[in-house]
């Protein structure tokens, strides 16, 4: 079955984690869907790097947190917060590629 992340998530958000990292949180709508997404490993360093057009090494970690039915992705900020070329000082509007992320899930 083809799924779109926004249809199975209750929260998809981005924010700075300090001035040099960007962190993306995806909270799934149900425990069942959380377990399915985790088991299928569709959100991985490769798929996230592709969504954001960055090298895989820039994706620092992907951590599952069942208490909150959450997947947390942390990546290197393209530039330090507030440096020349900045587009989003708080990093709060960098989530959109995940919203439209589509994948196959049994």
């Amino acid at each position: 079955m083809q799924l779109r992340l926004k249809d199975i998530a209750s929260v998809i958000r981005s924010k700075n984690a300090g001035p040099y990292e960007l962190t993306l949180d995806v909270l799934l709508q149900s425990d069942e869907m959380f377990e399915k997404v985790r088991a299928a490993d569709v959100i991985n360093k490769g798929s996230v790097a592709k969504l954001y057009g960055v090298p895989e090494e820039e994706i620092l970690s992907i951590v599952y947190f069942p208490n909150a039915r959450a997947v947390k992705i942390t990546m290197v900020r393209p530039i330090p917060s507030g440096a020349m070329g900045e587009r989003d000082v708080y990093g709060a509007q960098q989530h959109a590629p995940l919203v439209g992320f589509t994948f196959e899930l049994d």
Binding site: E21, N67, S81, R87
Partner: protein, 450 residues
């Protein structure tokens, strides 16, 4: 122990009814965070607070009056936002003004978190300083070029100030949970639980549903658990809302590093005590071999000038990347600058929000917004670059151009804005010290008649 957290940042406000509901429950401590690096390097670098003085005074008045009436400590962390001495001084002045107006008396402790460059260079040369994560290496040059460098104090300086008899403690840059946790740890409460509770309380009701960074919450700390419950009846805490908050602004939800070690949440449980109160247990604190505090510094990068404009021409929009690339070359040729500058264009309707992370390469916008952004060594120089880039773009001849009167729609006259000094983060790392209390200078003062 009951800990009242009025709001996420002193100066963000909170409903007085929520606060008085908290005061009626007779808290043992009022604590509040006031800082963040989120608003960017400008505030630390320039020494200007990101909170408004009038709003800070309103919040601080309610907190200080309540703390004096209940005869309990009031601890505020990261005063003035970035927590350098200049930020701290504004909050000390506001506090003294309130004390005078309200005839309040107490012993005040002010704890500095700003570091002298020479001392930091000595620490650097002694190998006590290391960079954090993807941040650049910390060099002597990075330290010496910074306008302000602060460290996030942990619980130790606050405990010392309480031991010395202070009732009201204003801290410079501070680990967000420390103002909440320090008084509890001093009384013998479990360090891991106290810090984890502080971590939740420092964002006020962001951990509730509906969430808000500007409403009051009470923390209840026990021997082997803590509870949180919002004070506004319109909000509630659920195990999901509280555990989801643990993710907020952090790289890893299980490992939360801070001064002296990290919180370990692997065995943490979040359960509902009532339909709006959540109980948390199982948090661990893992001590570091040599305690560390986090350093943050900023330096002036130059002076900024910008121009805001728009374009509604489909022929121009279809070539916008090539036009702006060539504009950089033409600006340089038309200016012959004998100074260094950086010139950037933010194009809304294309990749104005995500920049290089934007995956969409095809745009269908019928109009685009352009911000011409220039930073140079002086205000005059950045204004000159901005002016030449703007006038060159206005009359730029691109292939197929049919709108020959001008390429830009300006919403304002004047079209260019001199923004002032621009700052960047310069130091971001850890300073290791066996004696974290000695790093942070404390001064005491008796306010009023006490």
């Amino acid at each position: 122990m009951r800990i009242l957290s009025p709001t996420g940042i002193v100066g963000y406000g909170f409903p007085e009814a929520s606060f008085q509901a908290g005061v009626a429950l007779k808290p043992d401590l009022i604590a509040c965070d006031a800082g963040s690096t989120d608003p960017g390097p400008y505030y630390l670098g320039s020494g200007i607070p990101f909170t408004n003085a009038t709003a800070v005074k309103r919040d601080m008045t309610l907190m200080l009056k309540a703390a004096c009436e209940l005869n309990i400590p009031l601890v505020i962390g990261s005063c003035g936002g970035a927590g350098a001495d200049v930020h701290l001084a504004r909050e000390v002045n506001i506090l003294k003004e309130i004390a005078k107006e309200q005839s309040l008396s107490f012993k005040l402790a002010v704890i500095s978190a700003e570091f002298d460059q020479e001392i930091l260079v000595e620490h650097l040369n002694a190998g006590h300083i290391e960079k954090l994560g993807p941040a650049p290496e910390i060099t002597e040059e990075a330290i010496r070029s910074s306008t302000h460098i602060v460290a996030q104090m942990g619980i130790e300086p606050i405990i010392q100030a309480l031991d010395d008899g202070a009732q009201v403690i204003l801290c410079g840059r501070c680990y967000d949970p420390a103002p909440f946790a320090a008084p509890a740890i001093r009384l013998g409460y479990d360090k891991a639980l106290a810090l984890h509770l502080g971590k939740i309380l420092e964002c006020a009701t962001i951990c509730a549903t509906p969430g808000s960074g500007a409403d009051c919450i009470m923390g209840y700390l026990g021997e082997d658990y803590f509870c949180v419950e919002p004070l506004n009846p319109e909000r509630k805490c659920t195990p999901l809302s509280v555990s989801a908050h643990t993710l907020y602004e952090k790289s890893n939800p299980y490992i939360l590093p801070g001064p002296g070690g990290h919180l370990d949440l692997y065995d943490c449980t979040f359960t509902a005590d009532t339909d709006r109160r959540v109980r948390v247990a199982g948090t661990r604190f893992i001590e570091e071999a040599v305690p560390s505090v986090k350093l943050e510094g900023a330096r002036r990068a130059g002076y900024r000038s910008i121009s805001i404009c728009g374009n509604r021409d489909p022929i121009f929009i279809s070539q916008v990347d090539a036009i702006l690339e060539d504009l950089k070359r033409q600006t340089a040729a038309n200016l012959s600058a004998d100074f260094d500058y950086e010139l950037d264009f933010i194009v809304y309707g294309k990749n104005g929000v995500m920049g290089q992370l934007e995956p969409n390469t095809q745009i269908s916008s019928h109009e685009i917004g352009i911000i011409i952004d220039c930073v140079a060594d002086t205000q005059e120089h950045s204004a000159a670059v901005c002016s030449v880039a703007r006038s060159t773009l206005l009359h730029y001849g691109y292939p197929g151009r049919i709108a020959t009167a001008g390429n830009l729609a300006f919403p304002f006259s004047p079209s260019d804005i001199e923004v002032g000094a621009a700052y960047v983060f310069s130091v971001y790392g850890l300073l290791r010290s066996e004696n974290p209390v000695s790093l942070f200078a404390r001064t005491y003062e008796t306010i009023g008649e006490a």
